[in-house]
Symmetry: C2
Subunit: 344 residues, 2 copies
DNA sequence: CGGCTTCCGGCAACCGGTTGCAAAAATGTT
DNA sequence: AACATTTTTGCAACCGGTTGCCGGAAGCCG
């Protein structure tokens, strides 16, 4: 039955050693129930003995399943070398989730211009995609539509309410914004500024702002558009936005920043302008990046459920692949109170 | 010549449309010079028109080249969810280097116990491996030997002088340690403590310590073993090591921490003990993680050439794969002076 | 004990490119 | 114009598992 083992072991070698046909080896190693317990164990033992590993390429080629998903990051392209720390934390979570599901993880950073929408699924590199990116959704929404059209399995991290096409997994930004607002109100603040884009191009930020506004209205305060300043998620953007806020002369006693990096930049601007934290201005950030606990004072912030996020993204993609029902894609957040916002 | 296009496009479809044989298509798309310019262009145009992508599995299966490398992280397993920020920065650099070389990058976090030494190369998932891990090298040196024996292409990040088997890429830790020492000496410090393991199980840290000792000796100071305290690279470890140092009663006016995380933990301990920085104690860290500039005072540290590191690791693996000469595997470092160490 | 279902395992086709070798075409030589 | 050379292209085998289908063996039943 075939030739004797030679070179790197293949399933044929095992078949030879076990005295069975090669397809039987394939079935046995995958735990196919149409192989008797006895032969399966025999085959598995031999496989272990000769250090056999299934060739992933051959397997994927025939079965059209790679058991791999691709994680595509993309940023606005401004910062070449720095990676947003929040993404990195997310990466850890996704990696672990993949490992738990026995999936390999392919990683790539993308520039907007690339033809990433076909590089992975089409080349059969991956069974599904996870898309991760802050920045202006409008810039790549066209590609996302394309993914949907061609039936690509994917999930993206974003704001749950912008779930028009494709499966979006995200934190409850609206609720988080409300929580932040209520916290600051409870601290006795009334004039709460928001640093971060609030238009539809940046739905995550916008929903955080919406939540803040909801909280304000509930407290009988009309949100003041003069207290909202655009900022992308960079420290410098936070610095500039806070400087603009200060320069505007509009009185304020609190800042809700759309991200910790923005908050950190804002704190720098406040310190430069002689405003004390939290005395003159309470500050709340978003993300709870590692650096948030190291600022002076430590930054109050909102923590997203990162462990849950990775698992949820992976599970969402898997569900599409296997035709199961997708999980709840709505993740809770938690307020972490630190020194930058004084308790009432 | 064959059947008409149907379903997802294959090279056969293109062959049909171009009126050539399928192997010619394969050759043309890879730029094989044995295809005439005219036909190649015709084929490439058709491929673009019908959105064709080479099936990576089929290609890899036959050619035995995946154009993929696997990046294996491993940590001591203590911290489940936090990833060392230094690694994350490295990841960014490696990702970019892979992209530049047209390689895919497979990522995995490993626990020591796993059979990672065969999961990738053997399964033909990747052409080569990059190993990244702080921690006790003794724990996995056996597996590394195994990799060498079976001819696996790999490079690991580590200390250049421990390059006994396999290609090790790393910073010039010895030189960096000397630089740190000389800087502290120039600041007028004489009793410089080192926080970090200094034994052969942690060669990177040990070489940093050795460099410090060299600098001390050059200045006519005998290194005092009582000023060296073990610490792995976690904030808590730094806190504990610094606490032990303070409790030991040995006088000291400077700390050189083997990593920024250790330094940050140490600064916390110093603050808790009422020692001022840099007044009583100057502190120098290592890595220049983002948080380093946010501490109070900002942390003087040593920056490794991360961009170069990723490129060098990738290039080293590629060189092995393609039988070229490996690049220089010795990377320079740079001292970043901040507030935690007072100028002389 | 013949007939029927169930369980196991084999046969052969197949996934979609890549590659060694040889034939055909184009170009050069004398 | 006949022959040597060099380019282009095709043929067929191959990479190493996976899968649909079928047949033999074993188990079940009246």
């Amino acid at each position: 039955m075939g030739r004797a083992p030679t070179g790197r072991p293949t399933s044929f070698d095992i078949a030879y050693l076990a005295g069975v046909s090669q397809p039987t080896v394939s079935r046995a190693l995958r735990g196919d129930k149409s192989v008797s317990e006895a032969t399966r164990e025999r085959i598995q033992r031999i496989a272990r003995d000769i250090n056999y590993t299934v060739d992933k390429n051959a397997s994927s080629l025939r079965s059209q399943r790679t058991h791999t998903i691709a994680l595509l990051f993309f940023e606005d392209g401004t910062d070449e070398n720095l990676i947003n720390p929040f993404f990195l934390a997310m990466l850890g979570s996704i990696t672990r989730a993949c490992a738990n599901h026995g999936l390999d993880l392919l990683i790539s950073f993308q520039r907007m211009e690339d033809d990433w929408h076909m590089r992975y699924q089409d080349a059969k590199r991956a069974d599904g995609l996870i898309l991760l990116g802050y920045g202006d959704y409008a810039l790549y929404s066209a590609r996302i539509e394309q993914l949907v059209e061609q039936g690509t399995h994917f999930a993206r991290w974003g704001s749950i309410r912008s779930d028009r096409s494709g499966a979006t997994v995200g934190s409850d930004n609206l609720g988080a914004g409300r929580t932040a607002g209520e916290h600051l109100l409870a601290c006795g603040r009334r004039n709460i500024a928001f640093l971060g884009h609030a238009d539809e191009h940046y739905p995550e930020f916008a929903h955080r702002y919406d939540g803040l506004c909801d909280a304000l209205r509930d407290a009988g305060i009309a949100p003041d558009p003069a207290l909202q300043f655009d900022a992308l998620t960079h420290e410098d953007a936070g610095y500039r936005a806070a400087s603009a806020l200060i320069a505007s002369g509009t009185p304020f006693d609190a800042i809700f920043a759309a991200s910790d990096l923005i908050a950190i930049g804002a704190m720098r601007a406040l310190a430069g302008a002689g405003r004390t934290i939290p005395g003159d201005v309470a500050v709340v950030g978003f993300d709870n990046i590692p650096a948030a606990s190291l600022t002076t004072p430590p930054l109050t912030t909102i923590q997203q459920d990162l462990a849950g996020a990775g698992e949820c993204l992976v599970e969402t993609v898997l569900a599409q692949i296997e035709g199961r029902d997708p999980p709840e894609r709505h993740l809770p957040t938690r307020l972490i109170v630190r020194g930058s916002s004084a308790p009432a």
